[in-house]
Symmetry: C2
Subunit: 355 residues, 2 copies
Amino acid sequence: MDKDITIYDIAKELDLSPTTVSRALNDHPAVNKNTKQKIYSMASQLGYRSNMFASNLRRQRTNTIGVIVPKLNSNFMSSVIAGMEKVANEADYNLIISQSLETVEKEIANAKTMFNSRVDGLLVSLAFDTENMDHFEPFISKDIPVIFYDRVSDHKQFAGVVIDNVQASYEATTHLIEQGCQNIIHITGNLRRNVYADRLKGFKYALLDNDLPFSDASVIINNLSEDAGVEAAQQILQMDSRPDGLFVSNDTCAVHCMKTLTHAGISIPDEIAVVGFNNDPICRVVEPSLSSIDYPGYEMGEVAVRSLIHYLSGLADTSVTRITLRSELIIRSSSLRKGKENNKGKALALLPETK
Amino acid sequence: MDKDITIYDIAKELDLSPTTVSRALNDHPAVNKNTKQKIYSMASQLGYRSNMFASNLRRQRTNTIGVIVPKLNSNFMSSVIAGMEKVANEADYNLIISQSLETVEKEIANAKTMFNSRVDGLLVSLAFDTENMDHFEPFISKDIPVIFYDRVSDHKQFAGVVIDNVQASYEATTHLIEQGCQNIIHITGNLRRNVYADRLKGFKYALLDNDLPFSDASVIINNLSEDAGVEAAQQILQMDSRPDGLFVSNDTCAVHCMKTLTHAGISIPDEIAVVGFNNDPICRVVEPSLSSIDYPGYEMGEVAVRSLIHYLSGLADTSVTRITLRSELIIRSSSLRKGKENNKGKALALLPETK
DNA sequence: TTGTAGGCGTTATCAG
DNA sequence: CTGATAACGCCTACAA
């Protein structure tokens, strides 16, 4: 294994000082154009690559962004990561990605690793059961920016990139109502997570605005897994007054719930209309195909990294603590009843102001 | 933002030399137990965290492993990553993950970034259309180990972690034959990738061993996407002698192919029996549920990182260039015909030696 | 426009 | 068992 080429080697070769070489390589304005050219070509000729560690050590920053994600195995998350990568690469940042697998314990461990790796900033989508934000304290106290995406923190001090979950949920629920549903059940996740709390809120608003009653019995809270979907279906099958509509906060759960209902002889959408959330490819696989809320993952990743880098560059508009991206209801067979129009326009007009 | 605590601070506090502190922190045997204890507690009391850059700079290694993955959006890949993370964390390595999104261009860019980030080793699953291995040359010439997983390189110089695709495919095909299929079509991906070439091989072997004819018309090669699945189905519908069995190298493609066939009025498994590959959760969503090859992703990730670390620690058994993990056929409705037994045992007995 | 000098925090080497 | 010293490669005052 040959020795690495350093700026000293280039300097010696061209009879210049390392300083000049360093400056040229960083495109410093105060270096002669010709000199720069000579340095560039010598660098590539010798196969020079900058030693990030020396540079990091010196500059006290790493050009690395940490990403904590609940799970990677969804189309949504993989799009988010792809968007993050694109922006990060363009800005010469590296990404360190780790999965919390929906547990606080791993999330805490991940945060610690990130901290010790001295990431310049952190992007987090919270695990299902994270209660407090203590594990991000070390970042705050060292002024390392932490930006949340999708599953954000309620604490106002933390910036976040989100969609308007209240509106999306309002839209989905309204759609069900327009399809004739009078007794809708909402299945959602841990209400500590903004996404689920907000969706519940949107659900309630929509019922209210359409003079439909809401009761605690209208909501099933679980972990939105496959199994949870099956269980929820069993619960529903045993209800006294069976619902005629179902709005589920996650496509996986919705799909397995729907399948269980279908197997029990329920006809979808006629007896029960169903809408999911995320617009996962699975929506187009299940029979009938599942209506869902589409969610701009790639864009969310891009925006999150872009904000973080802005912040790191000191250009941050510190007043901006929430960036909201648009989402969209995709209507498919699972919620479209014969003879019913898609009155999406009307639904939108009814939309309350939600900031 | 306060200044970081260094080993000097600890040393000063305890009236020791930085050298001793460094040694203690690295659990060097030649440090007095009491001294070590004192150093540990002082370190945590002051909130010391090691500066990886200084350490990396000095030791010329980064404790970082680069991972290049085609796409993250599958259950399989997310399991692989989870397995990798577990082993890497335990051994105090960091992971830098990036997606090639199935294109050589991004794969090359990723490799370059990894190289410049001075990863200690690289784990790669090749993109669909990667032809040559030139972009890994810089690693080779610097003695940076590159280990492939799943989609490996044929070049004998590269180590890899795989399943026995020939056997898995042989087993799947034999199963279809046992279900009475006489005219099976195999849908697979670019044959430059070992996984697809090997599966084709296993498919041929199984036909051969059961005295069924093989012709080029028995194989459809595409990119295994959703759309490709739909197209393949359309192709099949127009065939003169319609097949009665289908073995697809990827569940997503299989599912969309199957759905298209079903919509065209074909009954599955009776008219056409179908087996997929990967055992993605989607298999249990589609109707009828899809038989598939189950594949130990988590384990593959663990093994890949473990091998890499062994290699980096100089413990490598350089003679081991291929590690093969077990896989398993999961039989579901899409390939199970009434009145047919599951003669899996027989299939296994017929299995040819495949190294 | 270029150069000199010193230090970022750690660890390897050599010497007690 | 402990310590002094010198790198690792780069960058930033400051000086010329």
